[in-house]
């Protein structure tokens, strides 16, 4: 039974791993930490998986556990390598239609998100992923009104970072 469940979990996670990679890349600034956080999120997802009944979409549930891990549970590893530039040197993401300027812009966007605080990072990610205010408020545990206020502030901050 557990084996079957683990198979199903691995299958679903393999298909949806991009969500976790986006969260990891927003909350860490080097590959080692990215991998560490990915692993911790996977462990937390697996621990919670038997209770996941499909009341919400798998992706919504993944977001919730991923943010919880990144914001509250993850203890950043000690090896804070001489960071910030590391991701830039990696060609992190592959494009179907490779476009250098889009790649550069995406890197800048990730850098801007990384400079936000932990809650703002979650807000920025959910904004970019077109998540509804209802889902944002449920994920963070704040009212929809507060989510809107914070979202506006985050968007302004993001804009200011990208257009100094």
């Amino acid at each position: 039974m557990t084996k079957e469940l683990e198979q199903k979990f691995a299958q679903e996670l393999e298909e949806n791993q991009n969500i976790i990679h986006k969260v990891c890349r927003s909350y860490t600034n080097n590959e080692a930490d990215h991998k560490d956080l990915f692993q911790e999120i996977t462990i937390q997802l697996w621990k919670a998986y038997p209770k996941f009944r499909g009341d919400s979409k798998f992706s919504t549930w993944m977001y919730r556990v991923s943010f919880n891990t990144a914001i509250s549970l993850y203890r950043k590893s000690k090896r804070t390598v001489q960071t910030t530039v590391i991701y830039d040197n990696l060609k992190e993401l592959e494009f179907h239609d490779y476009d250098e300027s889009a790649d550069k812009q995406l890197n800048l966007l990730y850098k801007a998100i990384y400079s936000l605080n932990d809650i703002e990072k979650a807000l920025a990610l959910m904004y970019l992923e077109d998540r509804s205010y209802k889902e944002i408020s449920k994920t963070l545990g704040i009212s929809e009104v507060n989510a809107r206020v914070k979202m506006n502030r985050t968007k302004t901050k993001l804009k200011n970072i990208l257009n100094p």
């Binding site: 198979q7 979990f9 691995a10 299958q11 996670l13 393999e14 990679h21 590959e31 990915f38 692993q39 911790e40 996977t42 462990i43 937390q44 997802l45 697996w46 209770k51 996941f52 919730r64 556990v65 943010f67 919880n68 891990t69 914001i71 509250s72 549970l73 993850y74 203890r75 990696l90 060609k91 992190e92 993401l93 592959e94 494009f95 476009d99 889009a102 812009q105 995406l106 966007l109 605080n117 932990d118 809650i119 703002e120 979650a122 904004y127 970019l128 992923e129 994920t139 963070l140 545990g141 704040i142 009212s143 009104v145 507060n146 206020v149 914070k150 993001l158 804009k159 990208l162 257009n163």
Partner: protein
């Protein structure tokens, strides 16, 4: 980059991450142990529960018994031990209940609040320990320094006021070391969580 809607287009244009995991990688990941902050909080909290009580394990019971008998401290010490054990059981119950409430599936605010609640239980436990140590220490000093046995043994040229000052200084220093040790550990783990919780709390208009 000026327009925020452009950002969404850039965001959506990103392909798959170059770091990709296969099902096998995921299988081996789930076998690994979590290193989450909750696990560390649990380990440290358990140590905080155990360490102050380890003092008793290394106590020379026979020497203590003779000392208590000599100065008539037996009954009051019995009272303190029973009282202390009841309080500890209460703390362990609340701590365990808080710990059970920590779930990665709750919303971010509730999770943060539950982690902080677990820590504050331990914080109160530490404060309780410091207070009870202070109270027992002062109470013992009072009884011992007022006993005829002690006054008889006190060298003629020494002053009881000096004895009090030295005793209280040592007691205060011991408590201070405990408190600082606790503050360092507490600050180290909770700085980020407190900041994030405050961020969620601010402007909550609901």
């Amino acid at each position: 980059m000026q327009n925020l809607d452009n950002l969404k287009d850039i965001w959506k244009s990103q392909g798959e991450s170059s770091i990709r995991y296969t099902k096998n990688d995921i299988h081996s990941m789930v076998q690994k142990k979590s290193s989450s902050i909750v696990k560390w909080i649990l380990i440290i909290s358990l140590l905080e529960f155990i360490l102050p009580n380890l003092v008793f394990v290394f106590t020379d019971f026979e020497a203590s018994r003779v000392f208590y008998q000599k100065y008539g401290l037996e009954n009051i010490m019995k009272f303190y031990v029973v009282f202390h054990v009841i309080i500890i059981i209460g703390f362990i119950y609340v701590f365990y209940k808080n710990y059970r409430n920590i779930s990665s599936e709750s919303n971010v605010k509730i999770l943060l609040s539950n982690i902080l609640k677990t820590r504050s239980t331990v914080k109160y436990y530490i404060y309780y320990n410091l207070t009870i140590m202070g109270i027992i220490g002062l109470h013992m000093f009072y009884i011992v320094y007022h006993s005829p046995q002690f006054l008889e043994e006190l060298p003629a040229n020494s002053s009881i006021i000096m004895v009090w000052i030295i005793s209280i200084t040592f007691l205060a220093l011991a408590l201070l070391v405990f408190w600082l040790f606790y503050r360092i550990i507490y600050g180290f783990f909770l700085k980020k969580l407190k900041k994030n919780y405050a961020e969620l709390e601010s402007n909550d208009l609901s």
